[in-house]
């Protein structure tokens, strides 16, 4: 099965700025990739290139097996894109907006009505179909914009800051929708600054910095450097972690007088070796447990560890 997205050596240059610098990656089908990075990292430029809205200087991009740069219109029939602004027609009703988006993406006329109503129901817009978009609140307009992006059931959905300006309840609902879309087989790439929100549904993380891909990996998979272990002491003890730094295969990622997070290379036997060494050093260990890294921690570690562009 071809990947959902394949980007090879994509470079995009604004005058004086290398917005994307030789970006290459593959995004598997059915995944939700969190596209993260500091401001100006190139996230929006990357999404616009993937969507075929901007043409990179070099490189090739395939979405759902279609060369986006050679045949953007065919690729658009199989992808949806939500830009960081809404892009909805204020003077049209919700039904007209969704109907226009559906027919513009090749949904046949006999299926338009049911397609629009199904999408509206999915976004809790069923009772708003007759309302003009200009009369809707920001959150509802955002939902209409998402509806426009998914109305034709695309294989790939690109979302640029989809939750910006939404209240916590609306964000939670949105997270549920993305999880559901992913379960149905849709591939999502979501750019957002709200990492806690991305953490709810992301399966992969793609970190951009200065136009370069700093890291791209599955979030569920163990970190390539080893197992992340949290150590908690029975009582505070100054400089207790100094002994750890000298141990082979152990990296102290963060520490306080009471606890530390370690990255231990190798397998369970290596973790047992570290625990034994701590106990033999007279350190009162109250807890020693492996933990999975959340997106926030992972992002910070990646960005802090990456060389500045």
């Amino acid at each position: 099965m071809t990947p959902a997205i394949t980007a090879s050596n994509v470079t995009y240059i604004y005058p004086g700025t290398r917005a994307l610098d030789d970006a290459s990656f593959t995004i598997p089908r059915g995944s939700v990739t969190a596209l993260v990075g500091p401001n100006g990292a190139g996230k929006t430029t990357l999404l616009r290139c993937l969507a075929g809205l901007d043409r990179p200087l070099t490189g090739a991009i395939q979405v759902a097996g279609i060369d986006v740069l050679e045949d953007p219109r065919a690729a658009h029939a199989r992808m949806g894109y939500l830009s960081d602004f809404f892009g909805i027609y204020e003077a049209l009703t919700v039904r007209q907006c969704l109907s226009h988006a559906a027919s513009g993406h090749g949904v046949p006329a006999p299926a338009l009505r049911t397609t629009v109503e199904r999408t509206a129901a999915r976004l809790n817009l069923g009772d708003r179909l007759h309302q003009r978009c200009s009369e809707l609140s920001r959150g509802l307009r955002q939902r209409v914009a998402i509806g426009q992006a998914i109305v034709h059931t695309p294989e790939v959905l690109l979302l640029d800051e989809p939750a910006a300006g939404l209240d916590p309840e609306a964000r939670h609902t949105l997270a549920g929708l993305f999880t559901q879309l992913c379960a149905e087989g849709m591939t999502l790439v979501v750019s957002s600054h709200i990492l806690a929100e991305l953490d709810e549904y992301s399966t992969h993380m793609l970190v951009l910095r200065g136009g370069r891909i700093v890291e791209h990996r599955a979030l569920a998979a163990p970190y390539a450097g080893g197992q992340r272990v949290r150590v908690v002491l029975a009582a505070e003890q100054q400089d207790w972690h100094a002994a750890l730094k000298e141990m082979e295969g152990v990296q102290v990622m963060e520490h306080t007088p009471r606890e530390a997070v370690l990255l231990i290379a190798g397998n369970a036997a290596d973790q047992a070796r570290v625990l034994r060494a701590l106990v033999e050093a007279g350190i009162a260990v109250a807890a020693f447990a492996g933990e999975s890294e959340n997106l926030h921690d992972s992002y910070l570690r990646t960005v802090q560890g990456a060389p500045r562009p």
Binding site: A51, R73, G87, G104
Partner: protein
């Protein structure tokens, strides 16, 4: 139904508008009939014809011109670009959809014009009605083209629309007004006589078709669909043949025969070069795209990435060279003239590029235009005023009277301008491109 056309119908039509428009038109025509002391039908024909010009030609062109730029300002254009609607469907959806209400009114006025016009002997009402329709399509397509170019440069079309509008009006109305005085007269084109109305109808129809094709090609570019640049050279040749056909006299002259066609073609190429230099989003990005395709030895993609103003200049230069060789030794023509004229364009394009290739280009077009005013007006004027004509000729050589001299001077000037622009490219942008070339290698 075309989704874009349908969307425009939703926006343009309401029950109120559908009912109000015919009522208002009927009331106006009844008023004209009531106040007309003699020949009310003739007056009704004049009012309905004038109403069509106002509603469809002018207001319709304004609506067609806003069809893309309004989407840019309301930030819906990217949503449209992300759809799977093809460029031709999008073009005609906007061309007929945006001015749909203007056409609705026009389609009520036009039958009145034709029917009432029958009472005037000698007035070819039906053919004039068709001429108005063709003129409307021509104007709408040109306005749509402007709108697409404005969107590509992220300019607000509305600001400039009034000026463009007046220019378009004069362009269309001037021959139309003269046509009114010559109904039944003959037009001479390439030595053959044609009925004036028939000639105007065929010409306007042909140019309307070219304008629609141009709008389609512009739409392709806006939707990131690359095309090979054959349309502009073909249109330049068509226009040159059309214009020079009108200029053929009994006596041999500058515009006589094939040399006249080539001279017209060079002049049109030059005009398009300047217009496109101002209209196209150019600068470093366009050159980087072109250079990468040339480095990859992919001529098809290089042609697709070439800026259209460059195509216009290349067409002009090629035709200028052909004209020079074709007319060598002919005393009736100044064979070097077209080539020398194109060198002015080459120099000016290099000046434009010099400013557009700044690291942070701001107001590049305005700055370039300022220096062109200096080169074409201020400096030669000042030098002439202080009796330094010999120096003035080095700044602005006499193209028509001393073409050979002008050729030499402009070769030097164009060479200097290209060298300066090239130097800026090399120092500011070439390193970025070089690095991209290295990175793209497997």
């Amino acid at each position: 139904m075309n989704p874009e056309f349908k969307r425009n119908l939703w926006l343009e039509f309401s029950l109120h508008r559908l009912v109000a428009a015919p009522v208002v038109i009927a009331l106006v025509l009844l008023l004209v009939a009531a106040v007309s002391k003699d020949n009310p039908l003739r007056n009704m024909a004049q009012v309905s014809g004038g109403g069509f010009v106002l509603a469809v030609l002018f207001w319709g062109a304004h609506l067609a011109g806003g069809s893309v730029s309004t989407e840019v300002s309301e930030r819906t254009w990217d949503t449209q670009r992300m759809s799977a609607i093809g460029p031709w469907t999008m073009t005609w959806g906007k061309l007929l959809g945006a001015p749909a209400f203007a056409w609705y009114m026009g389609l009520m006025l036009l039958p009145v014009f034709v029917v009432c016009g029958q009472v005037n002997p000698g007035l070819p009402a039906l053919r004039l009605a068709l001429l108005l329709v063709a003129a409307a399509v021509l104007l709408h397509a040109v306005a749509l083209n402007f709108s697409i170019y404005a969107a590509r440069k992220q300019l607000r079309y509305r600001g400039a629309s009034v000026l463009i509008f007046v220019w378009l009006l004069s362009l269309v109305l001037a021959p139309a007004v003269r046509l009114g005085d010559h109904i039944g007269a003959q037009m001479h084109w390439w030595g053959a006589a044609f009925d004036a109305v028939n000639f105007a109808l065929a010409s306007t129809g042909a140019f309307a078709a070219w304008a629609v094709l141009g709008a389609y090609r512009s739409m392709c570019t806006a939707l990131e669909i690359r095309t090979r640049p054959w349309t502009l050279p073909a249109f330049i040749l068509f226009s040159a043949i059309w214009i020079s056909g009108l200029l053929q006299g009994d006596e041999p002259g500058l515009f006589h025969g094939p040399f006249g066609v080539l001279l017209c073609a060079v002049a049109i190429s030059g005009a398009f070069s300047y217009a496109l230099l101002l209209a196209e989003p150019g600068g470093a990005s366009a050159w980087q795209q072109l250079r990468m395709r040339l480095r990859a030895r992919n001529p098809r993609q290089a042609l697709e990435a070439a800026p259209v103003w460059l195509v216009a200049i290349a067409t002009g230069l090629l035709l200028g060279i052909i004209a020079t060789f074709a007319s060598a030794g002919d005393p009736a023509t100044s064979s070097i003239l077209p080539l020398a004229a194109m060198l002015f364009v080459v120099r000016d394009a290099a000046i434009f590029q010099f400013f557009a290739l700044a690291r942070q280009p701001r107001r590049a077009e305005a700055t370039a235009l300022f220096y062109l005013v200096v080169l074409y007006g201020l400096l030669p004027g000042l030098l002439t005023a202080v009796q330094a004509q010999w120096l003035a000729q080095w700044v602005l050589p006499r193209l028509f009277s001393h073409s050979d001299e002008a050729m030499m001077v402009m070769l030097v000037q164009a060479g200097i301008a290209i060298a300066v622009a090239w130097q800026r490219w090399k120092t500011v942008h070439a390193p970025d491109t070089e690095q991209a070339v290295l990175l793209s290698r497997p």
